[in-house]
Amino acid sequence: MTEGSGLRSRRLALVALVLGVAAVAVSAASAARAHSTATTFKIGWISGLTGSQATNSQSATQGLAAAVKVINKTHVAGKNIQFQIVTVDDAATPQVASQRCNQLVNQNHVQAILGFESTPSTQACLQYSAPAKIPYILAQTATSGAICDPTYYSLATVGNQQVNPLIDYLAHHGSKKIYIVASDFASGHIGTGQVQDRAKQDGVTVVGNSYEPIGTTDFSSDISKIAAAKPDTVIDILVGLDEVAFYKQFRTDPRSNGIKTGSFLMDDAAAAAIGQKLLKNTIVNTGYSADSTSKGNKQFLAALKAKYGKKAIVSGAAAAAWDGAWILAKTIARAKTTSSSALIGAFANAFYSGPRGDLAFKGKHYVSLASFLVSYDGTKDTIVAKFARIFPIPANPACK
């Protein structure tokens, strides 16, 4: 080998080495770039983990966590999009909700908010999320339908979805005179008006109504009024522990003998607290049935069981939170963006088939969904009627 050819060989080797190193570097950089495209999408989860909504909020939080686990694992929102949940507790009060949403928006910089809140707490939260153009998705079971905001979307049932199936069913099954007892808050007053309107349409007479402050522990005066009015059915629009206290007192009072009860706000926790025995002769309108054999419900139940095992709390609240995470993921995937402001518009066309059946906004801010009527006979509960899809009519006429 000549000296020149040896030099050439060394140069070639050096070039090959440089090219090899460069190739490795490019490859590594490419891999790093590919890795860095995995986007974290921050979701603020606000619910009343303490206070009057604690039981349902815990259940809803389970539903959300189970959903996020599946969504992240199967890349539902997009190949590189991973949901990250920032959980805060609004203590079921608007004052705390306001503080927590301020935190979510201005400290945690979340890109969307999923809420399991009452109407006043939601309104308090929107004070911060709406100006920041962050979508707020109410993943609740029921709401008043009083909120109209371009950034707000509700997966909860509103008045006509709650009231109409129940009153229609009762009217067709012998109820002629009803009495309404409601909590003294927005949904109680709105619900009372809607029951009165629907009863009138169905030819049912409303023989009386009363409001009780939230936190009432003695329903003697209502029981007296009900006994005096002699209705065949009492519709309760009471919330949380008040509903439990009412049933425990009303159903153990002999003046309630022969009177049916109907509810459209009763959640699983309240029903469990009251117990089958005291729920005898009660019809409840609910947006979720754990007995549903739909694909969406099977997936929901399996995911919840996989994550929580025996501690899983199957409820409408958990299903609503699950739906919230999924419809958000599906919307991000369809819109191909994680921009908060871009997502706000995209929600109008969002749809998802989950444990509560087919959900769709269809250009509105309130969802159309299915409904079930459950009858309690004192020992068990049975679905007596199903409604495939009911379109929402929010209480606030300004809402789309």
Partner: protein, 279 residues
């Protein structure tokens, strides 16, 4: 008749809540803001006892003992050091209430708990059927007040209590252990709070804030009662009956506001309380 029974239930259930507060305020001059917390201790203790198969009525007694034990601890650690500073006791008992609620939340979770009624039947009173359990609560409320009246009026313990209430330095100079009297009073007041919680639990929803609503009205009754047992009875009748009747015939939402207004007016007229004292 059912309205009369409703009024009696309003009075009786209020008396159940008030009696412990009254004892502590009357003798110790301590405005015990931990009373709701002690009621919650009672109701959660009852939930636990029922969960372990203890029958309802023994469970009530055990719940009272648990609340009394908590009361003893609170008196020993906090209240005893603040007897000379009544305003500080308000802050201290409020803090204790927060701690108690948080401890309950840790142990039992923030969600609702449930207690079955010991009896779901009805009893006919002068031709009117009425919930047996509510009737029992009326009777228990009346019995506790009557027993307390007999105890205070005719027993040696009652004499000691009255002596300490009337003039503590003089009672001490006569050899009465006033510290022990205060300690026992606080424990008994706490036990009554626990019993009230255990008794009212089956007809109410139960969460860690149990008792908070009822205690607000109970404080009004204690203020109206002054420091005498007849005053307590009059205050419970006035507030319980007014609240029930106002809710029945006018508006349940405004009943509490009306009762507060009435209490303010009555206290303006009779700042020493409702009971008449012998000259």
């Amino acid at each position: 008749m059912s309205l009369t029974l409703d009024v009696l239930f309003g009075v009786g259930s209020l008396a159940l809540v008030v009696i412990g507060l009254f004892l502590i305020f009357g003798l110790l001059h301590v405005i015990n803001l931990a009373h709701a917390g002690l009621m919650a201790v009672g109701v959660y203790a009852q939930v636990s006892f029922r969960g372990h198969g203890v029958p309802f009525w023994p469970g009530v007694l055990l719940a009272a003992l648990v609340a009394g034990a908590v009361g003893a601890l609170v008196e020993l650690v906090v209240i005893r050091r603040l007897y000379a500073r009544p305003l500080d006791t308000i802050l201290a008992t409020w803090g204790i209430s927060l701690v108690v609620i948080q401890v309950i939340t840790w142990n039992y979770g923030p969600g609702a708990k449930f207690l079955d009624l010991p009896t779901v039947g009805a009893t006919t009173v002068f031709g009117t059927p009425y919930s047996s359990y509510r009737l029992l609560l009326i009777l228990i409320g009346a019995a506790i007040v009557a027993a307390l009246g007999v105890l205070v009026r005719f027993s040696g313990i009652g004499l000691t209590v009255r002596a300490v209430m009337t003039n503590e330095p003089l009672a001490r100079s006569h050899g009465i252990n006033t510290i022990r009297a205060r300690q026992i009073t606080f424990i008994v007041g706490a036990a009554f709070a626990g019993a009230a919680g255990a008794l009212l639990g089956p007809i109410q929803g139960i969460d860690p804030n149990f008792g908070a609503t009822a205690v607000a009205t109970a404080f009004l009754a204690v203020l109206l009662a002054g420091r005498t047992l007849p005053g307590l009875v009059l205050a419970c009748v006035t507030i319980g009956a007014t609240q029930t009747l106002f809710a029945r015939y006018v508006n349940a939402v405004w009943a509490s506001a009306f009762v507060i207004g009435l209490a303010v007016v009555l206290l303006r007229i009779r700042p020493e309380g409702l009971a008449f004292r012998r000259a």
